[in-house]
Symmetry: C2
Subunit: 455 residues, 2 copies
């Protein structure tokens, strides 16, 4: 097949579309589409409508589809039934933002040099817009490809309504492949494609021992202390020093990385100082790069995200609290399942403390990606074309619940072209996206659409 999109023309298109990119990114990030917060429900809907409008502006058909939860935006840039179809998945909902660490207003886009600061800029509105502008250009340039868009608005809360939605909708949106753009490079100088993602099982461990705060002088010693008991439970769920999960049977289904994967890890250019800097971490459990990579990509975890109940203000208020909660989650790797992880946790906690009640939260299956075959090759080639660098094959430590659902319902290969950098700050304060990643990303996606049109 003759090349349609040449390097110089593609670069020129990307550079020319910068004002347009910035204008639309501003529109999207300034809508606080925080899916976790019921107070932002209207904003999530507003964001869906703005996104549909944007799809239409780019020549696509677009619909805001209802689900049991937040809506899904579907788009379709058509070129003809005889052509292949590729579906781009992104999400437009965002994590909560605010607090003293934010140096700028989180829902006001601040352009500083090549950087675009705002909650959602890199996770995942910037990459969504990048892929859209690339698709428009590919189609307008005559690439024989149909491009569908699935823009979810519940990703940050574990996609609770997405599976039901896709079971109903999948037959109406057939596709030959899916490309997901919600993953992260190893570093600015090292693009990456994903060989898998971790899953997740969240849970709340709650213990009630009274009905009100009591004076620790008057009751202390006889009153049960729910926070001390939960601390003891947590200490028996994870060895905090090493990260080793202590729940019996927890590792039974863990498939260790293959020799091939470990080779990719070693060659991927991961740097421990770079990782620490990107995430603002002053201390790590491991110093060795391979150990760190295994820990974040290929091993499961048990985390405490917070203890609720009791006193959190300045100083010490010496009350015995009547209840406590440990907010925990387990990241899971293939072939663990959220259901079994939750069962093992329940059993273990019951054996430690019968009065602790467990509520399950988000459950996302881990995912093992395809790293060979024409789609994987097209993704790697497109990235190399755009950035001049062979992408590393790594795993992703995070979870995207929608992927397992799309694989089940759309029944097609799924590849990853991520555009975010570690320092962009997924879920972190002062999140940003940058023009370098957007400009290269447009070229990579356009080339990818061209390459898959011929598969």
């Amino acid at each position: 097949m003759p090349e349609i999109l040449d390097r110089a023309a593609l670069r020129a298109y990307a550079e020319e579309s910068r004002p347009e990119f910035e204008k639309h990114l501003k529109t999207l990030v300034e809508i606080p589409s925080v899916s976790m917060d019921p107070g932002h429900k209207k904003d999530v809907e507003k964001c869906a409508k703005a996104a549909a409008k944007l799809l239409e502006k780019m020549g696509a058909k677009a619909k805001v589809k209802k689900t049991d939860g937040h809506p899904v935006v579907l788009g379709h840039l058509k070129t003809g039934k005889k052509n292949k179809t590729v579906t781009v998945y992104n999400h437009l909902d965002v994590q909560p933002a605010g607090g003293p660490e934010w140096e700028r207003k989180p829902f006001k886009m601040a352009v500083e040099g090549d950087r675009y600061y705002a909650r959602g800029a890199t996770d995942d509105k910037g990459p969504a817009l990048t892929a859209l502008l690339a698709a428009r250009h590919a189609v307008e340039s005559g690439v024989p490809i149909n491009v569908r868009f699935i823009w979810e608005l519940e990703e940050e809360i574990g996609s609770p309504s997405f599976e039901k939605f896709m079971r109903k909708e999948a037959a109406k949106i057939p596709t030959d492949s899916v490309v997901v753009s919600d993953t992260i490079w190893v570093s600015r100088t090292k693009p990456a494609v994903s060989a898998g993602l971790r899953g997740l099982q969240g849970a709340i461990l709650r213990l009630e021992t009274g009905t009100k705060d009591t004076h620790s002088g008057l009751t202390g010693g006889a009153a049960r202390n729910p926070l001390a008991e939960l601390a003891a439970v947590v200490a028996k769920c994870v060895d905090a020093k090493t990260g080793r999960v202590l729940i019996p049977g927890f590792y039974d289904d863990v498939v260790p990385p293959t020799r091939g994967e470990l080779k990719w890890f070693r060659e991927c250019g991961f740097s421990v100082p770079g990782f620490k800097k990107a995430h603002g971490l002053t201390k790590l459990r491991h110093q060795d790069a391979l150990k760190v990579m295994k820990a974040i990509w290929a091993q499961p975890t048990f985390e405490v995200h917070g203890f609720a109940g009791g006193y959190q203000g300045p100083g010490v208020k010496t009350a015995v609290p009547p209840w406590g909660e440990a907010k925990v989650s387990m990241r899971l790797v293939p072939d663990q399942t959220p259901r079994k992880a939750l069962q093992l946790l329940r059993k273990h906690v019951r054996s430690l403390n019968r009065d602790v009640r467990i509520t399950d939260e988000s459950a996302l299956a881990p995912y093992r990606g395809v790293t060979t075959g024409p789609y994987a090759k097209a993704a790697a080639d497109a990235i190399e074309f755009a950035y001049g660098k062979t992408p590393a094959v790594v795993r992703e430590g995070g979870s995207i619940g929608a992927i397992v659902t799309m694989e089940k319902t759309l029944k097609c290969p799924i590849t990853f072209i991520g555009l975010s950098l570690p320092e962009h700050g997924y879920h972190a304060p002062n999140e940003y996206y940058d023009w370098g990643q957007a400009c290269g990303g447009m070229q990579a996606f356009a080339k990818y659409f061209e390459l898959v049109s011929g598969i």
Copy 2:
């Protein structure tokens, strides 16, 4: 010595003074003198001024004295230099109040039947006012006694400025004895006098491992989790199931209750169901009454009052927090000292986790009271006179830092006439005081002043 105050006249006085009592209690409790909160500094001063005005209204000389922290109110009802002097200690600062468990406004007095609901009603403004009205009556009735008042406004934060203040002031306020009214009966039907109080050492255990929240998918496994590490430390400081403190050497200086004390405990009428009901506790560590009494009166503790850092909102936000704090305290019994307890804690925590930093908070020495001699007898006789019941001799699980200071600086015997009931709710929501305790308390205090005038 002929009896000056007869039973019938005393009771009549108490009943007649009810409107006056309610009026002044309202004035005091409606000033939110929360010593812990810098935002209430002016209210604490306002309360001191209102208290001084009240003392003057009752015929006493009064002064608001500055300290390095909140002021102290001194009062003096004089009858003549040849007469004995007794000093009444109370405090007029209160614990913070608010939150969904408060069924009424905490700083608005609600009179419901015999009950006076408000923060500070029983701890310790109600008892202070009770003793004042009793003193006025005793003096006006011709009891040859000088009554001094020390009303502190820093008790709830561990009396940080009181020792320095008393070292300077003690010589100017000589006294033959002190009576403290800030303790609690065993139950409504069982008055109590205290044979000792527990001490306290508060501390904050802080661990920082990063500079911002990170996405647990991206960093989890390699990032250290400060809350999980603090949970492990706490789990090795206390066996939460039994309450046994696990810090090596912690029990070395604990003097177990004597056989005599255990006999008093057994005879004091303490009831486990009553204790649970008074404090709203649904579950206890021990079911046996003597074990509960030992645990709250005669044994030290290690409590976690709260874990700060991380996420406390609804659901689970899957971030790895950059820092965590465990807010802890140890109640101490004779002959433990706050200084040694803190040293042992520091050493133990350092051996568990070198990165945890410890800040010490309130330190109050435990106190062993005098249970024999003329003052203890006068207190017991006065209580029996007023309520028709022999008081039990128990220990107090709480701590009053000022007592050790007064013993050192005023160099005189200290006795306790407490008026609060367990169900009044020291430090708890919906705190109240009641007319039964105030009415009996006035008679008990007046009689006590008469009895000690003859010692």
